[in-house]
Every structure is written in structure tokens, then in C-alpha cells.
Symmetry: C2
Subunit: 684 residues, 2 copies
Amino acid sequence: MSEFTAIDITAINTIRTLAMDAVQKANSGHPGAPMGLAPVAYVLWNKFLNYDPADPMWPNRDRFVLSNGHASMLLYSLIHLAQVKNVDHHGKVLDEPSLPIDQLKQFRQLNSKTPGHPEHEYTAGVETTTGPLGQGVGNAVGMAIAQKWRAAHYGRPGFEALFDHRVYAICGDGCMMEGVASEAASLAGHLKLNNLTLIYDDNGITIDGHTNLAFSEDVPARFAAYGWNVLRVTDGNDVDGMAKAIEASKHADRPTFIALKTVIGYGSPHKADTHAAHGEPLGADEIKLTKKAYGWPEDSSFLVPDGVYDRFKQGIGARGAAAHAAWHKLMSDYKAKFPKEAAELDAVEQRGLPAGWDKDIPVFPADAKGLATRDSSGTVLNAIAKNVPWIVGGSADLNPSTKTFMKFPEAGVFSAKTPGGRNVHFGVREHGMGAIMNGMALSGLRSYGSGFLIFSDYGRPPIRLAAIMNLPVLYVFTHDSIGVGEDGPTHQPIEQLMSLRAIPHLIVIRPGDANEVAEAYKYALQEKHHPVVFAMTRQPLPTLDRTKYAPASGLAKGGYALNDVPHPDLLLIATGSEVALALEAGEKLAAEGIKARVVSLPSWELFEKQDPAYRDSVIPPTVTARVCVEMGGAFGWERYAGRTGAVIGMRSFGASAPLKDLLKHFGFTVEAVVKAAKEQVGKK
Amino acid sequence: MSEFTAIDITAINTIRTLAMDAVQKANSGHPGAPMGLAPVAYVLWNKFLNYDPADPMWPNRDRFVLSNGHASMLLYSLIHLAQVKNVDHHGKVLDEPSLPIDQLKQFRQLNSKTPGHPEHEYTAGVETTTGPLGQGVGNAVGMAIAQKWRAAHYGRPGFEALFDHRVYAICGDGCMMEGVASEAASLAGHLKLNNLTLIYDDNGITIDGHTNLAFSEDVPARFAAYGWNVLRVTDGNDVDGMAKAIEASKHADRPTFIALKTVIGYGSPHKADTHAAHGEPLGADEIKLTKKAYGWPEDSSFLVPDGVYDRFKQGIGARGAAAHAAWHKLMSDYKAKFPKEAAELDAVEQRGLPAGWDKDIPVFPADAKGLATRDSSGTVLNAIAKNVPWIVGGSADLNPSTKTFMKFPEAGVFSAKTPGGRNVHFGVREHGMGAIMNGMALSGLRSYGSGFLIFSDYGRPPIRLAAIMNLPVLYVFTHDSIGVGEDGPTHQPIEQLMSLRAIPHLIVIRPGDANEVAEAYKYALQEKHHPVVFAMTRQPLPTLDRTKYAPASGLAKGGYALNDVPHPDLLLIATGSEVALALEAGEKLAAEGIKARVVSLPSWELFEKQDPAYRDSVIPPTVTARVCVEMGGAFGWERYAGRTGAVIGMRSFGASAPLKDLLKHFGFTVEAVVKAAKEQVGKK
């Protein structure tokens, strides 16, 4: 006998009609997917999700990810009906609903909490920002990794229940076609993340029409090939069948994929099972007919029938409250027994850092031969990570090159057998890596990822989403210029630096020597709300003599004058590997009586955050003789070169050759900088 | 009994030793994969490939794609040993080898024809530029689509053999992990591209170490799920087994995936089967030991033993010459019988256009209400495409939104059953789409793809590769600003325009009205060597009255003054949807006695190609009062605003709301432009 009764069906139809009504009122949105998915989402939330609506910040809550974010009204309806509480910007839970019914009526309006796609940073109860397809699958994998890690690292005998949450995600056909989801799913199977349940909304419809226009693969078989536990539910209204499948997923030894056949726009007499239900309002008449089909008052609008709120209270509400209370009780015992660990867990939730996190960061001695910033980066990362246990990350199969492996013995490798390990082998999956990093960060880990800067292109969407979500993820990109050398143009970044700088809210840092690297890490670790991208060299750079030049701590301001030239004839502005080049040119010029101020400008974003007085003190507007040097695209440097300044940068793709030949070929030489400088001074 | 004899093994070991020697001499590169793959590559080239080394431009040649491009020495060795001829920049075959042995000795050196990764544009015999992993799989799928289309469109009874080439590709573990290959493979299975054979170098080693660190999925089972014919060869030296598998692939009704177990660095006593063989020279001592293991003279270098060149001549050389000669004979009959089609095929090879290709491009009448540029784009695309049969393309599941469907009856849909169709349903696979478009273009088609501008991020790597390869692919990106409206920040491009402008060799065009759209298409179709990206609006724009304003043909110069203001007080510079806004502001200013020149700047790249005199005539350096308006990121506009000009652009992510609210919220109003203009004039 089914455990579901008439009120459950009413609750399901409430979700459907709220979605229809909100989209209709906004005259914009996607009603069809919420209508098809309402049963499974209801079953999941009200029968399974360990989630306390009274505290959406509870660390051990089950996570729910709606990867097909265009079905946002499904999630908003659930948040409303479950009466999830609101949270302020500091993460404090407020005694008010996250989404009162008025917010549903403000769907897709300016400043509402119900934007077109679910946005984590705006709406309590939304675990991650989705919309760009496939990303949510990666986020869910990241959250599952974070749970495994947290349980392994902080779990103690008798306290397993503190860290035993699961991750549930729903995705659509679009997610299944996107490579990012393929990458993440392959890794999830490899890691045997049995705390993850992915429900595939197999409705057979996309924007273009039926999926058979472009998509006829056997998706469940593909997930089986990834090593997932694959289950099928053939009727999107079979609430018992889906409950059984979800229950089974909790006991699997692998991640579970539930292929659920649904009907898009279910109940709509004329639009069900067509792409007309996908991305536009059903229309007033069709809504009436659909409500009639549900046995709903045809002229009702935003109706929540009696008993529906109560049903959610009895379900997710009561279950979540009890679980939460039991957790609190157990947590107080844990705190008493393991005060250090408990304090760390608090810090994790606050994006904080343990005392002394920076105590082992080295100061690098001046050294003309120097070392590559990828190498100093590896040293600094290790020095910090050993003091911050929840730094967890890795590379897209480039550890030997990016030097981002945590080498201290207790770091270990994250694997199915060693889920407390901190080095993640993401594989050659830059896009999946980024989406997974976001999920890890959403679950409190300080996640980092690395690769060659050129391959930031493979994973731009999750970098952007981290910026939208204010997530402090860290990217350590190395091989940051034609300094790559022999690998040639396909591997030499040109436009990548500038393209990353163009992303709002993202902080890009290209340190000029080992001590700037140390400062870059200091900044990045203390950053709570912005993703940070490092650009590190493959080739060695001199470590500057800081008794001669300004201290590297200037990095925190984004740009600073290295040499003391109060009234310069010209400015030499450089980043990263070109700082030493500019300094050398500056010395040559000085010998000829030309006073050049050399500015290290490792981060445009941090520099632009300084007050104008500081910026003008470093780059005086009156000094228009300027040479900017960066071994990336010249495009964009007009900002600092001004209309008349010179830019020594790349204006084409690179070439395959030893670096010394490339430097000469593309003009990154002291002679070229000196020549440009003289021309600038001559112009004045 | 094997058809392979001792000389074949010698030839295989020649490939291996050339790769070892070249990497050693360069002191940089990847010896291991060529050593493992030499047998299958040899079998494929010398026993199967229908390829005439005397004419690498022969249209019906079988295509070979090395998706794991870091194994470039494998390909260079084959090109050398098969004595493929050189080709000049105009595609003319020269009577000299593409890669004499000296070029192998110049591996990875400046200006050599043997760069670190294979580059189509430098080296005759290299069908596509590879290196960024997974791309080659997509290219191969595109080439397979192009062959199917060509055969269906130009094939005639009795002339099938003119268009019957196959596509062979080799890929590695990295390619198999990248989502782009997953996307392309899924579509290839859907389209039943039985002209495609993909050989998977399953060597179990990546840069980080054994693939079991991150990759334990059942790759063959995954390809079976995509609908591929899956074959296995368990010994990378089993030349008979691989010949059998390749032969079988020629008779399949689906694309064939051959999983081939190889040993990376085969023969190296200490480095075989380890990641030490992957990305660095073996070392002089290890090379000696390896050569000894092959029965090779230990102190030889770049040795091609007697009989090896001849073996290639007897194999690929003789087979290719015969096939090519037969093809020419048949082609002359075809020319006689089907002169129009034959002329078109010539044009396809030349990236030409048929006479009258532009005759149906409409002139749009002035219209204050106007239409979205995505709509005028759809009209113009259709007007051109019906006259250019080899325009083949589609969208990533966004046809109803991007308006890029070719609607004329003879266009049809490209599918397994209708391979002469021209509308390709790429599915929700932006990255795969781009890689496939490149493959189609490499096989002569004028390929286009479309999607929302925001999702250009999902497919940046193939856009960049198109620019590197000088391929004239066309991207029609729509929904090009916060004009997207209710879908909100995840769907509203901000930094995308500028990030695309930052890519070298790429032409970005954001037309300001319907007639600029027509001009944009005219330009793009005639462009033979650069990829072109269009940015089109979702929302309607007025069609400008060209009796009042300068003709839209100014677009070809990238930027032009719309109104006739010889001595302006200030410049209003705008693109796309903001052109009309600037014009309206200009009129308001004129009414107040302020003379504003309004400049439409649809393409920065085309504008920068003009001579300085023209540029200065449009944007006079002396007029420093400037307001630049673009509904994208402000970042980068310093180029035209100058140090003191104003930029009205986005400085954050967007928001979900109806467009009219967003315009006000983010300051894209006539009032805001007028205000900024007055401030600028006041400053002067």
C-alpha cells in the first residue's frame, strides 16, 4: 500500500500550479519542467531530505541541487511550501520566510528573491546558482566530495551522524548533453561517491523539440559505464516507485543515477510533451484547462490548498527539526570531547582560518637566478595548507607541472578508500574541476584547482559562477605566457589573462617574484567573497632584493612602485615575469640619465579598489610617458598605457620554440623596453 | 598468415626512433605516445589510408586526425616517411617534401615546420591543429559530417567514389576525459557516422601517473552507450589484430571505436609504462637501451633504414596514387556531366562563393519599431544560404531563439537518414559544436553555429583554434547583453564581448541595426581566413533611416560616423543595441547646441585594420570628450574612451528583470548618456 495519500497529490499539484502561475504572471519562464518534476521533487523533499526549514545553514543538512536551473519555480515552490527561513548576508537565520508567497508573485522581477534562475547568493534555501546547464551536476559531485572529506577528517567513533548528509540533484536532458556533467560524473563514479543521488529528468524535450533530433544515446548505460548504480523509474507520477529508488540509493556502494521518465508540462492538454511547455508561459486559457485536469479551481491563482503547508510541516519540517535537534545534542558532546576539531568546524562554516595559518610562509632571499613562480607557489601552498586542514584541491592531471600537490605526509590523496585525503586528482577535466570546486566551496572547503593558464578556457563557466556566487575558490594557473616555449601556440596563453580580468568580481593576480607569490597567497586565503586566479610562470624569475626595492607586501594593493623615483620621466609598468625585465630596463635608462619608475602591477582588480590618491601616487596621471610590458595580449592595456603610451605585449598567437628564441622574436627584451622608453620620453 | 613482414616492423621502429631522436634533440616533447602508437599508425597509414602523398590537397583523401597532438612526432614521422609533398599558402602543391629529415631535426624550433603540436596552417599533411585535448575528436566528427554531406549533396549514381573518403582519428586518455570529446562522440553516435573510425590509445598513463588515479570508467562501454560500434585490440603490437579491426570499421553501420591497449614508451627498459615516458626526453642512455631493444644501431640518430621509404611508397604511395588517378578520371566525367556541381566543388575547395550568392540579401526599410538583430540575422542568413549550398550549420539546441534555422524547403535537416540536409541539430553541446564546426570547415563547408552569447564561454577553445587555423567559421551568438532580461545574471553576457575581442585573429561584429546585420553577413561570407563572431540582440532595435544617416556599408570598415558632424564637440561611440540610444542622445544634445558625432563601432578588429587616416577621421584624436556606450563590460573600452572619456557599460553582473527595468537600473538611458556627454563637454 502506498504511503502517499490524496494530500500528497494535492501538494504535488500545488507545486505545479504555483510554477504555472508565477511564469504566467511574469510572462516569462519555464513551466514545463516543474510540472513534470513536481512528484519526484516532492517525494524527495518531503519524504527524504534531512533538512530543517528552520535553519537552512545547518551544516549537516542534505543538499539539494537543481542542475536544470530554468526549472527554478520548482525550487522556489518547495522553499515556499516547506517554509524555509530567511538568512541574512552574514549567514544569520532570520525569523521570516525565505520566500513568502509575495516573492513567488514577484518571479523574475527586479530585486525580487525569485530571479529567473536560482541564485545561491540571493535566496535562502538555494544551495547553488544554476542555469548554465551541467554545472549543478559538478557542484553536486563537489558537495559529495566535501561531505566524504568532512566525515573522514572530523568523524570520530560514535559521532558519525554529525557528518552523514547526502547530496541529491536533479538534472535535465541539457545537463546530460553538456560535457561538464560527463566529466564530473566520470570522476564521481571513480571516487565511488555513494552519498550522491542524481535524478535525471528524462522528458525527451529540449528547446529545439524532441531530444531525438540530437540525442539518442543510452544515458543510463553511459552512467553504468562511469561506475554508477543505475535505477529506472518509468512513470514520472509513480511516487512509490521513486521513493523506492531514492531509498535504494541511500544503500548503494556507488553514486546512484535514477533515470526518471517524466512528461514535460504534465497535465496541460495541449502543451504537455511538447517544447511549447519548455520556455514560455502556458497562457491563461491553457492554465485553466490544466488546472481543470488537476481538479483544481480553474480561476484560482497562487493557491495553496488547506493541508499543504501542514503536510510539509509533518514531513520535511518534523523530520528536519528532529534530526537537527539530535545533531545539536551530539555536537555538544563532540565539542566537549574534541574542542579543537569543533572550533575548526566553526571556522569552516565561517570561511575562517585557524590561528597561525600563515606562520610557515617563507620569506624568499634575494636571488638573481631565482625560481619559477609555479615553484614558489608550490612551496607557499604547502606551507599554508599544512596549517589549514580544509584546504582541499588538486589539478587537472598536471601536478608535476603546476606544483600544486600537497606533499606533507598527512595530506594524502582523496580517493574512495581514503576520503580524508586532501589531494584531488581531477583528471584531464578542467571544466568538471571548476564545477566540482564550486560545490566543495559551497560545502565550506577551501577548494583549489590548477592547470595551465591556457586551459582556463576549458573551464571558464564555473570560474564565472564562482564570481557570481562570491565563492573564494582558488585557481593556480601556471605556464602563464609564451614562456611555455616549445609547446607552441596551442599551449601559450595570449588573451587568457585579459579575458579573466574582464570577469566581474574575479581577482586575478600575476606575481612578479617569489615574495609576491607569498603575498598573493596571503591575500587569497583571507579573501572570503571573491574567487582568485593566480597566473604563475613555468620559467624561473629572479627573486628581487627587497632591501633595494619596495616590499612585496605592496601586492595587497594590486600595484606599487618598486624603485624610489619620486619625479619620474616615465613609468615602466609590468606584471609577473616582466617585472624583472622592466627593472633591468629601468637601470639601463638610469645609467643614461632617464628616470624610470618601475611599477609592479600584479592585480588590476586590487589596484582599482584603492583610493584614487594611492593610485595616482603610483601611476601619476601627469606622467604620460609610459611603457607597459606583459607577455600576454596587448589588448586592454590601454587602461594604464593611456592613449599615447607604449604596450609591449602579444598581438598574435605564439610560436613553438625555446623561450630564449621567443623572447627575442616577440620583443620581450631589455633592449626593446629601453627603446620604447626612449621613444616615450622623446615624445613628451 | 600475417601480411606484415620484417620491413613493416622496421618501419614501425623507424617511427619510434625518429620520435625519440627528435624529442631528445629538442630536449623537449613527448616520446612515449608515438612509441606506443607507432604500430597502429603505421598500419593505418600504410595499409588503409587512401591518401596520395603527392597531393595532400586531394579532396577525396581519407582524413587522419591526431587528437592527442602532443604525440606530434608520430605524425611528423609519418609525413616524412610517406614523403608527403609540400603545399604553399595558396594551397598549391610544391615539388618538395613537406617535412624533409632536416625538419624533424628542427623539432620545436623557431620557424620550423615541426612545432610542438601539429599545426594545420604550417605543415602540409597536418589536417587539423591539435594539442588542446579532445578537440581532434570533435574535428573528426565534423569532417565525417562534411563527407556525408558532400556525398549526399554532390554524389550522383555512378559517381559515389568521388566522395567516399573516411575519417580516422587517434586519441588518448586525456581526450577521453575531456567533455568536448564526450559531446562530439554522443552526436556522432546519434548521426550514425559510419565513415568515422576512432582509435583510443588506452595506455593507462597520464601526466599525473597511472590513469587509475582519476579515471576508471569503462570507456568502450561508454562509447557503446553513445551508439558506436566498439572493437577491442588488446596488444598494441598486434598489427594483424588492428588491421582486422580497422577493416571491420569500414563496414560498420555506425562510427567505430577501437580500444587499443598500448604501452607508453614501448621498448624503453626503464620508462615504458610510466609517466616518465610521457612528456620529456628519454635521455641519451635510455635511448641507447631502447634502440638496442628494437635491434637498432645504438648510436644511430634519425636513421631511416633501407627499404623503409620504399615500403611507404609501395603502401600508401602506390595505393594513394592509384586511387587519386582513378578519382581524376571519374571526376573528368563528372565535370562533363555535372558542370555546375563540379564548379561548386571547386569553389568549396577554394573557400569561394557562387556567383549571385548575395543577390537576395534584403535592404531593410527604416523602421522606428524595428526588429531584433537576431531576427534580421535569420532573414539574411536564409537569403544567403539558399544561394550557397555548402553553408551547413545550426545551433546548440537554440534554433527557436537564435533564429539560425535555414527554413527554405531544400535546406532540410542533417541526420543519419538525410545526410544532405543542411541544418545541424548540435544538441546542448556548445563545446562539441565548435570542434565539429572546425572539422566541417577543414573539409570545405562554410560551417556556422549559434547559441546565446553567454554560452560562448562553454566553447571558447574551438573558437580560439579556428582563429589559430585561419578557419572562416561563423558564430551567430544572440541574446548579447543584459537585454536577455528575466533569465538573469547567469544568462546575461557581460565580459563575453570583450573576451572574444581579446582573441587574436578573431573578428567580432555587433551590428547596430538590420542593415548592419546584412553588411556583417556580406563581410563574413567573403572572409576566407578569419573566424567571425556575430553578437545579436534578443530585443528589437530600430532600423535606422539611412537617408538621414551614413550607409550601413560603413560596417566593413569596422566603425563609421553615422551623422554628419564635421567638427564635433564630442563623440558618442556605441555598438549594437546602443547605437540607437547614442543617436537619440545625440539629437537631444544637438537641440541644446552640443554637437555630438555618433560613431557606430560594430567591429573593433575591422576598424583597427583601417589606415590611421581613416580611423582619425572617424575618431579624431583631438576630440577627447567622449562617451562610449555598450551594454557589456566597461573593461577594455579605455581604448576608445581614452583616459578622460566616459564609459557607460556594465561593472557587475546583471540581474533578473524585464529589460525596461534593467535599462533604468543599470543606466542605459538617453538621460544617462546625455548627462555623461555634458560632463565630458564641460571638462574640456
